[in-house]
Subunit: 235 residues, 2 copies
DNA sequence: GGTTCGTCAACTGTCGACAGTCGGCTGTCG
DNA sequence: CGACAGCCGACTGTCGACAGTTGACGAACC
């Protein structure tokens, strides 16, 4: 046996691109950069004290992720959110989460059950003292756990991008109107179905859970973001 | 009414980043760049007659897409394919394609049916004279059509990335052993279920179709790419 | 007054340069 | 002969610079 580990942690050189991307993403999901906002490379670089190159690289990644859109020769813009975007997003989210819960169902063990239950308990206990974004965070962590437990790297990656977008959308909503404790408790039936290893029930519970969130977000969004009047374009 | 269109097409300035990404992607799905291969920025830039900046930006996008992985201070590498990667990929593909076929089922019209049927007919008619990659291309086009018909932009985007990876994997397989005509005809039951607007049946057909491809690819891959011997790491 | 043209500032697309780092090679020493 | 330190080439990370384009503003002209 060798020593359990080397005494030193490898020196980690933070990659500027990663830092910039994280910062830009944070600005978006915290609502400081609203959809449609232009991201001026030079200005962003100046504010962060770096040159434009890493900013552009970070923006390129976020472009592929869908957080930014590039208009050639006009720069990057924060992706605009429409009702259809929300519908598309939640449609995909539903498919992926059903996949995740089914996978988790097949692979669940005692440790996994404990983690999930702890998360639900945490949500129930803490939820009343938290801000809505913090609650959303805990909520999404539960779903992220399911992806982890399903042991599918790609699913996890995809869900991580969806999670970011969900948080971005939430940041656009002024209030949330839902009973936080009710929302927290709503996860229990999903876990119960997983414990019972009843894949069909787990899928059904998840479907209902996501669909409910979908409708809720959709309603809030449509009421708070009336669609801009779209005049008939001359034929 | 104005004239049907302006007489001039807007001058299009091809973005170097797009060109480079397309070229790199082509190199990968055509098997010229094998998984694990290092992509040296300066060399790539030189070969394409450009500077490193746009190469890096293209690579950043492909990194987020999953085609390349970045090892900090060591450059970009073509993503390695393992059996688990294939399983993860097809697991997600299954979820997304079920979603797509369900959506298509709900929104199908005569024109859509015609397009799908034409594609199947094309596959049946042409398949014998084509190379395997060309067959795969036609096949994937059918699935891409379903995503389009489901009218979900995000689903379409996700499937496009999956399609690329499927083609990349196919490029790694020496032979394919399947009766092309049989594969082509296998799409008909899916379309029939869509025409009948029977969502459950459509999902079931799709599930069977994808699962079959999954197993086929998996078997070929495991037989042609034996896992490198992984020695027990000392505890 | 409304339209058209020219000017201009701002910003993107692209490039070459430079410093820092990593891994391999070599030569030396035990 | 093997281990180890030091050197060196290759390549990445980052930067500043320059050219080209775009949209806006304002002047000239019908």
């Amino acid at each position: 046996m060798t020593l359990s580990a080397t005494p030193f942690v490898p020196v980690e050189v933070p990659d500027l691109v990663d830092v910039i991307e994280a910062e830009l993403t944070r600005a978006i999901v915290e609502g400081r950069l609203r959809p449609g906002a232009r991201v001026v490379e030079a200005e962003t670089a100046r504010q962060m004290g770096v040159s434009r190159a890493p900013v552009r690289e970070a923006a390129r990644r976020m472009e592929r992720q869908g957080l930014l859109v590039a208009k050639p020769r006009h720069g990057f813009f924060v992706r605009e959110i429409t009702v259809k975007e929300i519908d598309d997003l939640y449609g995909v989210r539903l498919a992926l989460e059903e996949c995740a819960v089914a996978g988790a169902c097949a692979r669940i063990d005692a440790a996994g059950i404990a983690r999930l239950q702890a998360q639900i308990d945490l949500m129930c206990a803490e939820t009343l003292g938290l801000t809505p974004p913090q609650r959303i965070q805990l909520d999404l962590q539960f779903h992220l756990m399911l992806c982890e437990l399903s042991d599918n790297e790609r699913l996890l990656r995809l869900f991580a991008t969806i999670e970011t977008e969900v948080r971005m959308i939430i940041a656009l909503l002024d209030n949330h109107y839902q009973d936080p404790l009710f929302v927290a408790k709503a996860h229990q039936p999903i876990l119960d179905a997983i414990i019972a290893q009843d894949e069909a029930a787990a899928r059904a519970q998840m479907r209902e859970h996501i669909t409910s969130a979908w409708h809720h977000v959709r309603d809030l969004f449509t009421s708070q973001h009336p669609q801009p009047f779209r005049e008939n374009e001359p034929s």
